[in-house]
Symmetry: C2
Subunit: 249 residues, 2 copies
């Protein structure tokens, strides 16, 4: 950013700092698309909006988010983490910037820009410390049943596409797993997100040759042959594979 050409002050909110900053500023918000797996299906967290005076989209569902608080939030990611903890209690899941959406029309209160993040939280953690106004919704294709406030349907669609796309060649689904999991469980998570079956042996080869998971001295018991339990290695960085899973047609 360069401070050369300041916009001419029109209608709307203006600043009151000195030195040529007296022009209207857009509203600045942060929204978080929070995914988890519940009941073998991809879910996203939504909150119900209030219906106070001047509230746009009263009682509609929306992505968790809100205005940046310049006194509380050190930076954008800190703001996103704050929203995440407020709604889910999860402290440090996978969190990645998704993009930003800003325009004159997306919020009836004026020119606004939102910084969108997307987060993956483990299944177990997703159920415990949920905020009262928050609720998990299963993904229906690339969206969700209720009509969302603002342009949140578009942001959600972008998040789902980004997730599905990256799952083709990264280890992101590992962040949706509980502490301990088996390879078939991890594969099922991949398949749920991709909505497509994967080859067992190719999947196992890929996962085991990546520096990603390590076996622990425990097995998952069941009504059949027990499965080796694994956990994520300390190296929290996601793994990028050189190929996608299926050749794109």
């Amino acid at each position: 950013m360069a401070g050369r050409q300041e916009p001419g002050g029109g209608a709307g909110e203006i600043g009151r700092g000195g030195a040529g900053l007296n022009f209207p500023r857009p509203l600045t918000t942060v929204d978080v698309v929070i995914f988890t797996i519940r009941l073998e299906a991809l879910h996203v967290l939504l909150v119900r909006r209030g219906h106070g005076e001047g509230e746009p989209f009263p009682d509609a569902f929306a992505l968790p988010g809100g205005f940046v608080d310049v006194d509380t939030d050190r930076d954008l990611e800190a703001c996103a983490r704050r929203k995440l903890v407020e709604k889910t209690g999860v402290v440090s899941p996978y969190l990645e910037q998704l993009g930003s959406w800003g325009s004159a029309n997306r919020d009836p209160r004026g020119w606004s820009a939102t910084h969108a993040y997307f987060a993956l939280v483990p299944t177990s953690a997703a159920e415990t410390a949920l905020a009262a106004d928050a609720q998990w919704f299963p993904l229906d294709g690339t969206g969700v049943k209720p009509k969302l406030a603002f342009d949140h349907a578009e942001i959600l669609r972008a998040a789902v596409q980004r997730l599905r796309n990256k799952v083709e060649y990264t280890s992101l689904p590992a962040y949706l797993m509980p502490e301990e999991f088996t390879l078939p469980e991890l594969q099922r998570t991949y398949e749920v997100v991709l909505d497509r079956a994967l080859e067992k042996s190719a999947f196992r080869t890929r996962m085991l040759s990546a520096d990603l998971i390590e076996p622990i001295a425990k097995m998952r018991k069941g009504p059949n042959r027990p499965a080796q339990l694994y956990r994520l290695k300390k190296t929290a960085a996601p793994v990028y594979f050189a190929r996608t899973f299926n050749a794109p047609e």
Copy 2:
């Protein structure tokens, strides 16, 4: 974004709209990382900042950008395109959102958030309508010689990494080419961006089997065997390949 929890109004700029919007707003800017190829090297466009009253980083180099003008800019991308045309004259190159950077400290004038874009412009167009204060700088590793204003060195680094990364499995370098080009020229562009040699035959196979370029009834003459000239197909969408070029080690 949800309008539930408004930040408490502290020091700084406040809005004057009604209905609970009386809290400080961050500054909102857009910056564009503009790449081109010149003299067989990747270059980025920088502008020199002014040194007026209250200007931070006087006379330093910075990425082209500036405040969002809520009266002029319909949305963030329109704002980015405006900056791009102002500095280069190029109307519709490849333009993609890079991410956003926002914090209390990145601008001495207060809490600010920038929406960063990155653009690829063809070699030819890059020379003609350049703004007076703009200048091309060759990439030096992942950065550039002069010290940049704000956190622009970090934004530039992110842009270069994103570009190098995507070039491994996309057709992005095609947007750096002039209208007509040969396959060896396209390959050289790939190699310049990646700073690595590529296999000729694998490269040709990949490019020709993608629905990306089409031969024209012309050849590039030289002191040796002439080369078939190609142009980008009408379908402007970038192609994503299923594999990266070299297996990552």
